[in-house]
């Protein structure tokens, strides 16, 4: 009973992980492949994500992306610092997201 359930959940996790990894690899290789464009060697070129994109991707890992108008500039500073510590955001992500929220409220 105990190990049956454990085996089930591990199996579900493995299958799901493999599916997601396969899906993720297929989409990222299309985007990263230099053969997909005629603009030369872009191997040294890195595209940075905007605060708006990071806001959509990062916040929704746990909850709905917040409405920028919900808080003031100063409040977003505290919330950004709190989320950086609590949810494991990088310093760069946090800075961009907070700037986006402050510019959009």
């Amino acid at each position: 009973m105990k190990y049956n359930n454990f085996a089930k959940i591990v199996l579900i996790l493995i299958v799901t992980s493999l599916t997601l990894v396969a899906y993720g690899c297929s989409t990222s290789s299309k985007l990263a492949s230099p053969e997909n464009d005629d603009l030369g060697d872009f191997s040294s070129f890195t595209m940075e994500k905007s605060g708006a994109v990071l806001w959509g991707e990062t916040c929704s890992r746990c909850h709905n992306a917040p409405d920028p108008t919900a808080f003031s500039d100063q409040q977003w500073e505290a919330i950004g610092q709190h989320m950086r510590i609590r949810a494991g955001l990088t310093a760069d992500e946090t800075k961009k997201i907070v700037t986006f929220l402050q510019q959009s409220n």
Partner: protein
């Protein structure tokens, strides 16, 4: 003469204008000074829920939790955070301090946190438990008020995050007082019982718990996160007790996959899963009749949850709906064959009891005890999002053990603030 008068008039006019302008500016400056932010930033956030519940044949309106989260930011490096939890319990109001800690940001990659903090053991307890974030009205089995695994620590923690090329990782490493093994044998007429208590604010021995969590996000869109957590304590027994060197090893695996705006399914999906395992060294308790009872706990809890929101639907009503399904379970150590009358019983005593009690009740049969302990649960829910942080949550839940099924219906209004 006329020229002089005109000159005086002009000087008077200019000086009066300057004086008025000066006083206007001073007044505005005072107003601006009043609202100037300063370097201290206080903010109260939090969450609440209320609603109606039907469970096992009984129904009731409930006024749920009021959980304010207090944040004090001092400059760019220091943050104090604390969460209180106020709720009706029994005949009165229960007031609890969930956590209170101080963080100091050392650099872009590391933050030092000291005090009482939620254990980074899996993701549900640390990130997903607030009512407006948890998509269903109840917590998964073994992750809420009957937790399998640690929920909060008194200690010091180093945590941070970093990019690794296209991928990202986050980490936490901490030292804490760990848990307390409690042996209740005050009543000599009754056999002793044991429990694991997380409220170890004055360490019961000199052995510290070491633990942490490593989260890995392999895709550059942060959609997938896989986390590994562990905690080890070489001794959880009291320094003066007869029990010595009882170690505890706990570990957890969590997974999150969130993908927004998938055109093929006209919406977003959110997959969450977690598995907790708790192992405590074998130890013996002497029963009143002189026999020794051997207790060895190996308990686990797990859940997998999938949510779908048709966020790309043209209908506003449909785009605000979210459909959720969850399977969860809790497996507890079964009594050993020679330990008749010993049965594991799940405790529902807030977050304070980490784990499961082994209550020794000779009157109760093993079958009855076992049915209360090992359970599986299916939950299905529909949420309507009124705003990004408030939702009406309707859910149906069936909990099974070896003997019976117990169903429940929950209608909650959850609000984050």
């Amino acid at each position: 003469m006329k020229k002089e008068v005109l000159l005086y008039l002009l000087i008077f006019a200019f000086s009066t204008g300057t004086i008025f302008a000066q006083s206007y500016n001073d007044e505005k400056k005072k107003q601006l000074d009043y609202i100037k932010p300063g370097t201290t930033n206080f903010l109260m956030r939090g969450y609440s829920h209320a609603g109606f519940e039907y469970f096992d044949g009984n129904n009731s309106f409930i006024s749920g939790t009021f959980a304010p989260i207090l944040l004090w930011q001092q400059g760019e490096k220091i943050l104090f955070e604390s969460e209180l939890e106020v709720e009706f319990e029994g005949d009165g109001v229960q007031f609890a301090l969930e956590y209170a800690n101080i963080s100091y940001i050392l650099n872009d990659y590391a933050t030092l946190r000291v005090g009482n903090f939620l254990t980074p053991f899996g993701a549900f307890n640390d990130r997903l438990h607030p009512a407006w974030i948890n998509k269903l009205s109840t917590a998964p089995l073994g992750m809420g008020h009957d937790p399998v695994g640690p929920t909060s620590e008194f200690g010091a923690e180093l945590r941070g995050a970093s990019s690794i090329g296209e991928a990202k990782m986050n980490y936490s490493l901490y030292l804490s007082n760990g848990a307390i093994l409690e042996v209740h044998d005050e009543d000599t007429l009754k056999p002793p019982s044991t429990s694991i208590n997380g409220l170890n604010f004055e360490d019961n021995n000199n052995e510290k718990a070491i633990g942490g969590r490593l989260g890995f996000l392999p895709f550059n869109n942060s959609a997938l996160e896989v986390g590994l957590s562990a905690q080890y304590t070489s001794d959880i027994s009291d320094r003066d007790s007869e029990y010595d060197g009882i170690a505890s090893l706990n570990y957890a695996v969590d997974l999150s996959y969130v993908k927004n705006s998938i055109s093929a399914i006209k919406g977003s999906i959110d997959l969450k899963a977690q598995w907790n395992q708790v192992n405590i060294d074998e130890f013996g308790i002497v029963l009143p009749d002189g026999d020794e009872l051997i207790i060895k706990q190996e308990n686990s809890a797990y859940y997998a949850q999938l949510a779908y929101r048709p966020s790309l639907s043209k209908s506003t009503f449909l785009s605000n709906l979210e459909f959720i399904g969850r399977y969860s379970g809790i497996d507890l150590t079964e009594p050993s064959e020679h330990d008749e009358g010993v049965e594991p019983v799940a405790m529902r005593n807030k977050n304070k009891i980490l784990q499961i009690q082994n209550l020794i009740t000779p009157e109760a049969g093993e079958e009855e005890g076992h049915q209360e302990a090992d359970r599986t649960q299916w939950s299905f829910g529909v949420n309507y999002w009124i705003s990004w942080r408030s939702a009406i949550k309707l859910s149906y839940q069936v909990t099974d053990n070896d003997i019976e099924s117990i169903s429940g219906v929950y209608i909650h209004y959850a609000l984050g603030f």
